[in-house]
Symmetry: C2
Subunit: 187 residues, 2 copies
């Protein structure tokens, strides 16, 4: 196996995952193929439904992922609705929501999924804990990166190089686990 399709329209995600799979000597190719995101309580459900849908349409092994940011003191908001909230409120909306909060714990979760030629599904989860910054900082990455400071650091994901972020990100952790489940071997 030397090429795997990754269905995403998000260039930032693509680059992260390409970097990750390069350690296994695997090339990741982008597949532009929208799929319906079901309303579900968990990222896993969204990913499993998406994989099955895409596999029926494109009949080839492929990967997708879904991720979200969870504010630990706000019942996990926005969680599975992160994309919607990013689109409507943006990072500033999260800062506004927390304007009077001194405790600001949050975590990112990513669920990465792979469906093989037989329609067999593998899913893996990755998580990174941290907190929400007081203001937006940095320009790299995407999504809520400018307001998320991972544990043990004092800079946001958007202030880090892709390489530095990839060492600890929820997405890296999920795709590393997925690669392991796919029995890929590190170069």
């Amino acid at each position: 196996m030397s090429t795997i399709w990754f269905a995403t329209s998000n260039k930032g995600k693509l680059i992260e995952v390409q970097e990750r799979f390069s350690h296994f000597g695997v090339e990741v190719e982008q597949l532009i193929a929208p799929y319906p995101e079901i309303q579900a309580d968990t990222l896993e459900e969204v990913v499993e439904a998406g994989l099955t849908h895409l596999w029926k349409e494109h009949a080839r092994p492929l990967m997708i992922d879904d991720s979200g940011i969870f504010l630990d003191n706000k019942e996990g908001f926005p969680g599975v609705y992160s994309a919607y909230v990013l689109h409507t409120l943006g990072c500033q909306g999260i800062l506004d929501l927390m304007h009077s909060d001194t405790e600001r714990p949050a975590h990112f979760e990513c669920c990465a999924g792979y469906i093989d030629e037989k329609g067999q599904v593998l899913v893996a989860k990755g998580r990174v804990d941290g907190h929400i910054s007081k203001e937006e900082k940095g320009t790299t990455g995407f999504g809520f990166d400018p307001i998320f400071v991972p544990e043990g650091h004092d800079r946001t994901f958007a202030e880090m190089s892709l390489e530095e972020k990839n060492k600890m990100s929820h997405r890296s952790r999920a795709f590393d686990k997925l690669a392991e489940m796919m029995e890929l071997e590190k170069d």
Copy 2:
């Protein structure tokens, strides 16, 4: 027709709709029957899918509704996700989100639907414009009522009697239109 089933677990909604249909000499009975809410862009889609699902399960004419609050300066957030946002952030979350906003326009929308014995679907929409108050006020009603001030008034929905709110609410307007489409006649 003298009794119609209304599938809802929300006592506040039930009372509103009962009051409304009493003007048509129709009794509204509560049906406790949960149904999946699909992830959709519009209230109509949620209602149509819910009606079809319930009709298959319960094989009787019935009504449901779905409603949301839309912040006009926040891309319509939380809209179809209002129930989730009420549960996670509550009214206080909306106030936090708007803590620095002087312009605070918002509207409520309700989509009411009816499915008849043959599975034929009718849907009607109601809307009320207004703004978000600076703090929670009042104790009647439910949901986001304590922070919504309808146009032309200076009190929130939660500071009004059910009768006063019902004269102008999005839900009343939707169910009045629905009653008209059902060809019910006012007493």
